[in-house]
């Protein structure tokens, strides 16, 4: 099955369990992690995850809601956007 890539971005105040919380929610939805990067910007935790949603158990909007809910629990803002927006905007 062809991959369908999206970018998950999470920001918030750094604390333990952030990576675990977000990645667990992804795993439970059968979303595979392709690449992962994180950084601390102005004391804020910022994580970017490239994911494959082609085998995701739910539709895109449900996954979006699920991640936002998980983010609320962890005090994070969690977004997921289709990778084409980054591909289009940042690559000639």
């Amino acid at each position: 099955m062809a991959k369908e890539l999206a970018v998950v971005t999470a920001f918030g105040k750094d604390r333990t369990g952030l990576v675990a919380g977000v990645t667990r929610a992804l795993a439970e939805s059968e979303v595979n992690i392709e690449d992962l990067g994180q950084t601390i910007m102005q004391d804020m935790f910022a994580m970017m995850i490239l994911v494959d949603i082609s085998r995701c158990k739910c539709d895109f909007e449900t996954l979006q809601k699920r991640l936002a809910e998980e983010g609320n629990k962890l005090g994070l803002q969690v977004l997921i956007q289709h990778k084409d927006i980054f591909e289009y905007m940042h690559r000639v």
Binding site: L5, L36, T39, M48, L79, K83, I85, M89, H90
Partner: protein
Amino acid sequence: MRYSPEEILQTIKMVSNENFDIRTVTLGVNLSDCSSPKEDELCENISHKLHSAAKNLVPEAQRLEKKYGVPIINKRISITPISTVMASAVAKSDVEEGTKVALNVAKTLDKTAGELGIDLIGGYSAMVHSGLSHSDEVLLESLPKVFSQTSRVCGSLNVGNSSVGINLDAINAAAVKVKEIAEATKSQKGFGAAKFVVMCNAPEGIPFMAGAFHGYGGAETTINVGISGPGVVKNAVAALDAGADATEVSETIKKITFKITRAGELVGKELASKLGTTLGAVDLSLAPTDKTTDSVAEILEAIGVECAGAHGTTATLYLLTNAVKTGGAMATSRVGGYSGAFIPVSEDSAMNAAVKDGSLSIDKLEAMTSVCSVGLDMIAIPGTTPWQTIAGVMADEMAIGVMNNKCTGVRLIPVPGGKEGDDVDFGGLFGKATIIRMSKRSSEKFVTRGGRIPAPLHSIRN
């Protein structure tokens, strides 16, 4: 990682902090085949065609907003200039009788747009640069009733172009109607006039209101996209060193516009494909809103004039428009519509602040329109302004467009009871305006000559 954290965060910051959005996706619908000599059949055909073409427009656009995380503010429809579509239905009536048919057509458009979840539908329009047909006269006569009795319908008149010149008779008729529309919508401070624009060289494929219409050369349907992001451009310019020269400013605007335009093209292409149509035009115009940080005037100020209206404003606007076009043209091969920068006074809080404190006059705004799109836009004027003066403003603006081979437009709101310096709030995206100072000198002798100002000679250019 395939994308750097900076790239990802820049995109997110553009949306969350800088009001980046796709300002509008507008579905152009060809209504030519809806014509009928029977009024009821005409209205039914229009309603049916719009429903079948646009039923998925709003839900599909909403899905794309979520998929890409970029808001699409307006979902709209443009149609074939209605004067042509209703011509056979009014052919046997006199103008007064025909007006009833026209109003019924407008109400059908209004109702159908509402049913489809569309806030504005454009194309209650006529092309009258060479003269008025019977149906055009009916349309013109119906304007005050249409804009006071409908809420979603927008219209335009094309009164000149570079190959035939300027139709002064049409301008005079339009100027009279602008006053009547404002008077008919007195309880909304003349807001009806905000839904009507007089243009020259009107391009097909405009996605923005009030000038949007589906061109005669268009397919059955097409998607036109209006991008936005004055806040993004302003922040990019503001982040430059104070020592950056004009070329560097231009380079910065080009690069950021490329990104904004690409997002517009991505959304437009995908939406067109979902609706079974094609992407027509991506309009590069930077469209402000009355939110602070979403202003074209603030970009000019970031480039370096103290306030919009200061000497140097026209040059900074030229720098901006030219850089936007250059960056945008690299990003999409579908450049179309107005593609410049809008300077609507009421919709741009910093622009209006400059009018309010006397820094920006209608004369300077007119000069600015020679280097941007789309003319004198959303300007509140005293309600007592004579129609001959409004016609004079329109004629000036059309002269700039026709002579320079570009589109220009005039959307003035003569506020009933309003005096110079009064503040008027039109609400929502239409913003607030301070009534501008108009020349007290008369244009009457000139405009009432009527007739047509011949087409410009373009071989001896000075």
